[in-house]
Symmetry: C2
Subunit: 306 residues, 2 copies
């Protein structure tokens, strides 16, 4: 199978160029122009969402006294590599007719949970199975442990304060909160981290087993993207059917992004990515408009700089 | 100053026997008998609450598949030394006329948060300033880190599911949730852990400074007991005034329990405990009945085996 280098999520990876290539290059110059326009619009859509989430987080976590508490918190929140889960939360909210402001707290909380998980994943514990990748530690392990521990309740607080009782949406906020506790908890992201740890402690064969990689990515990235998408629809006032479609779409997006960023890679990975992309797009069939186009771009690696 | 050994929270400590002794022995045989009766009733009251919380937690976290997730979670939740914060939550709810069931999820969530904090406090990190006290580690550091990380969202989930929307209490549940995120977060328990870590890394002088010990205990134990008491009143339908009185009482109870369990001790500690006990009892002045008596016993170390 012919392969070419492509760029996805800031990382150069191998893409298959077979007939069923998940990210085919455009075949004519007119469709190529159309795609460039679409891509530019889509990128600007995602950028605007991400700027708003960042601004919201910066306002929520200013560097203020006590400095030893808020400085590391601020640092670790913005040091974590961004994922598309928070932005997907807002896009899903807008897709079903909701307003961006309705999903901003939930989206920010999702990034907070992710940044805490990232900080803890890189803690130097005494039973570390292998040296952690050389990531920069601005603070000592104890501070990073405690700061991660502090970010999680703060994320739930941000969510619980979301819009407030005056808006009469307490039931929705509680539902979103439960979605989030499950996605980031022991049967979600933490299960993924646990499975990955077991894999790295094993003889190494697991690390190139597609089914295993897929399971880890489903838990680590799939659950959080699914949660983001589902919560966006809930907050935007979508139907139960729309919630479940976007939830499924989110799982596939997260898995695709996780698998494309997988260190090392594996022979059957590209075929599996193609399959997941097809499943993801199927979930969007009943949606149309600018948001649906932008959201579908999340699985079109070579078209969007996502 | 004369001192005698007394027993509080399962630990032998020094108690002053001065005129202003916070826990004076009874002076006559009739009052001694009355106290024994009161003590027995009070102990049975606290025991019944604690049994219900334990049963509720055992039901919430059964050892079920996936075993590698739920077994360590179950273990760490029940391995953490009990505090009175969860039981105080239920007693405070009953004090203002609420039913025990209304506060059971919040009380259990409080213990979950405490057990996660306890697990993380004892993680062997590579920058540990001094060897941790010889506590038994049933699992490796990575598992204990991830399990602690999983317990916290589970606690919030338990709370968010509390009684459910059918009971039309979403606003109360969200309020309690925000109380809890603040108590266990960066300005609460985690600040206490951070301050304690700084103290143990210092030259050791801080460790016997009463003002410093008091601050650490206020954050570590005070905030969680205050939260338990306030949340109990909120869920039991108490007034804002009752919420604030019980919150203040909770702070003092937590501080007293934390300071009495302090490793090493300090010369001025007993006088400070007396002062705090007086302040605590003052907050209960407007309450009466069996619950008020039982609650006041939380600061009467020699009378109750709390």
């Amino acid at each position: 199978m012919a392969r070419a280098l492509s760029h996805f999520n800031g990382k150069t990876i191998l893409l298959s160029l077979s007939k069923s290539n998940p990210f085919p290059p455009s075949s004519s110059s007119s469709s190529h122009r159309r795609m460039i326009v679409t891509t530019a619009q889509t990128q600007s859509y995602w950028s605007s969402i991400e700027s708003e989430i960042e601004a919201h987080l910066k306002k929520a976590i200013p560097v203020r006294p006590p400095i030893p508490v808020f400085e590391p918190m601020h640092h670790l929140v913005f040091a974590a590599p961004a994922t598309k889960a928070p932005a997907l939360c807002i896009a899903a909210c807008e897709l079903v007719g909701g307003h961006r402001a309705q999903a901003l707290d939930a989206a920010s909380a999702l990034h907070l949970m992710h940044s805490a998980a990232h900080a803890h994943e890189n803690l130097p514990l005494t039973d570390q199975p292998k040296p952690k990748p050389a990531i920069h530690h601005a603070y000592g392990p104890n501070i990073e442990l405690l700061t991660g521990d502090g970010i999680v309740p703060f994320g739930f607080e941000l969510l619980a304060r979301s819009l407030g009782p005056a808006q009469n949406n307490s039931d929705k906020v509680l539902r979103v909160l439960i979605e989030m506790t499950r996605a980031v908890g022991s049967l979600g992201v933490i299960d993924g981290q646990y499975q990955e740890m077991l894999g790295t402690q094993s003889d190494g064969r697991k690390l190139s087993d597609v089914a295993w990689i897929e399971h880890v990515c489903k838990k680590k990235e799939g659950e959080s993207h699914a949660c983001g998408a589902a919560c966006g629809v809930i907050l935007g006032g979508g139907s139960e059917d729309e919630i479940e479609r976007l939830r499924s779409f989110g799982v596939y997006v997260g898995m695709i992004h996780g698998m494309m960023n997988w260190e090392g890679g594996s022979e059957g990975l590209m075929e599996e990515l193609e399959r997941l992309r097809g499943l993801a797009l199927k979930e969007l069939e009943n949606f149309s408009g600018r948001q649906a186009e932008a959201i579908s771009c999340l699985v079109e690696g070579s078209l969007c700089n996502v």
